[in-house]
């Protein structure tokens, strides 16, 4: 029996609990009832779970800063741009990058993503079974990233290795933090080196895709420095792949376990639009975002001190009955949905339009090709804490 999470005695919550990763909604409900501003187990840092508190923090970057690369080292040598930079510098980068991630731009690569989705499905559809994460959820966002950047699809394997080297470093001894940090730095250097070569190539030979645009992009008449381009690329690799992988896994795991909902979606593909939003709200695979508090501030009844790391629990905010009176019903037709699965305020996920397009296309094509699927009998999906990737999701269908 695992300890109660959150612990009502101490007001602490274990954010890396496997049960929270598998089924976070009851934990969020208890947080709202017992300790809306909890403290994270071990670190003791404040955890915001109310919708209003989350939105307020996200919209006040002058108090809740994103500039914390020293605390959040992920194999990087400098802050990732624009995620780990505060306004006003962050705003200049967003003005440059936002147009390349607009809904209109994403529509241009939609046919390619649809093709990639079908290519992947072709590989296993006749088997009547697959392990969803490696077979579909991992490769699809990576092919989308390569399309967007204008990089060859043959680099897929290399990218997956580099990304995993940062996010899940292949340590020999589980829990060896020193080895993990070393592996992260090593993979980080390889990521920098890879993109250095691409920058050289695109400078000499412009081609389609975002890499060429970044090489020629200007802020205030000045082209970006090599380091600026590298720091943007590093972020895109780390932020753009696992997040969509996790969302696809959470969505399909939910629908495999809720056949009525799956049937509803299969019979009415037009619902994909609202269903994608509702499952983002319900599952919120990117459960939390960190911030560094810059000054003493009161949130709700809790006092937060300057210098404290703060966790904004997006997943809990999205289940707050104050914002969603029927928060614990999954309504695939929900018409009023101001969820914050992509965050809010100036750091609103740069790739949100890309992610939404990928999710919609993947859901449409999956359900068109494989409408009748279920969890493999006797199997249990396995979720990772933090970003809720469904690492093991064995599915079966009539072949």
């Amino acid at each position: 029996m695992s300890p109660v999470n959150p612990d009502p005695e101490t007001g602490t919550v274990n954010l890396f609990d496997l049960e929270l990763a598998r089924c976070p909604q009851p934990v969020y409900a208890r947080l709202h009832e017992q300790c809306p501003v909890a403290r994270a187990a071990i670190t003791g840092s404040p955890v915001l779970s109310r919708y209003e508190d989350a939105i307020w923090a996200l919209r006040h970057p002058e108090i809740f800063s994103s500039a914390m690369e020293l605390q959040m080292k992920l194999g990087t040598e400098r802050p990732m741009i624009p995620q780990q930079i505060d306004p006003p510098a962050q705003t200049r980068y967003r003005k440059l990058l936002d147009p390349h991630f607009s809904r209109k731009e994403m529509a241009r690569i939609e046919p390619a993503i649809r093709r990639h989705a079908n290519d992947l499905i072709e590989r296993f559809i006749d088997d009547g079974r697959c392990d969803f994460d490696p077979a579909f959820a991992i490769p699809l966002p990576c092919t989308a990233f390569l399309s967007l950047m204008g990089l060859p699809q043959s680099d897929l394997g290399l990218f997956l290795r580099l990304k995993n080297g940062i996010i899940r470093p292949p340590v020999k001894k589980p829990g060896d933090l020193e080895e993990a940090a070393g592996l992260r730095s090593e993979h980080g250097r390889q990521i920098y080196a890879y993109f250095e070569d691409v920058i050289d190539d695109r400078t000499a030979r412009p081609r389609d895709g975002l890499m060429t645009k970044l090489v020629h992009a200007k802020i205030g008449g000045e082209t970006l420095s090599r380091n600026e381009i590298l720091d943007i690329c590093f972020l895109m690799l780390l932020a753009g792949l696992d997040t969509v992988t996790s969302t696809l896994g959470c969505n399909i795991a939910y629908l495999a376990s809720n056949p009525q909902q799956r049937k509803k979606l299969v019979e009415n593909p037009a619902l994909n639009e609202t269903a994608v939003e509702e499952l983002l709200r319900w599952e919120t695979p990117v459960t939390a975002v960190p911030r560094l508090c810059k000054k003493d501030v009161s949130v709700g009844s809790a006092d937060i001190k300057a210098g404290e790391m703060v966790t904004i629990l997006l997943g809990a905010a999205n289940l707050d009955r104050g914002e969603f009176p029927d928060a614990f019903d999954v309504d695939l037709e929900r018409s009023r949905n101001r969820h914050v699965a992509f965050g809010a305020g100036p750091h609103r996920c740069l790739g949100s339009h890309l992610a939404r397009m990928e999710l919609r296309v993947a859901m449409e094509e999956w359900h068109r090709r494989i409408p009748e699927y279920a969890l493999a009998p006797g199997e249990t999906p396995r979720y990772s804490p933090g970003i809720r990737e469904v690492l093991y999701l064995p599915l079966v269908w009539p072949a």
Partner: protein
């Protein structure tokens, strides 16, 4: 009915122009660009749909 969008508050979630493209457009950055301030009666429900899906609450409906 009138709608107002606060450009200082909009950060480009894009829910409004996805859900109610008759009333809301997008600028180069994907931020909201209002197409009609005065909402025709037949589009009032669409205006409310846009308002109630904006996580930033950048859209305000005013009854005139």
């Amino acid at each position: 009915m009138k709608i107002r969008v606060d450009p200082e508050v909009c950060v480009g979630h894009g829910r409004c122009y996805e859900l109610a493209p008759e009333l809301f457009g997008e600028d180069e950055r994907g931020h909201c660009r209002l197409l009609h301030e005065e909402v025709p009666r037949e589009l009032e429900a669409r205006a409310r749909l846009g308002e109630s899906n904006c996580p930033e609450r950048a859209i305000r409906i005013e009854r005139g």
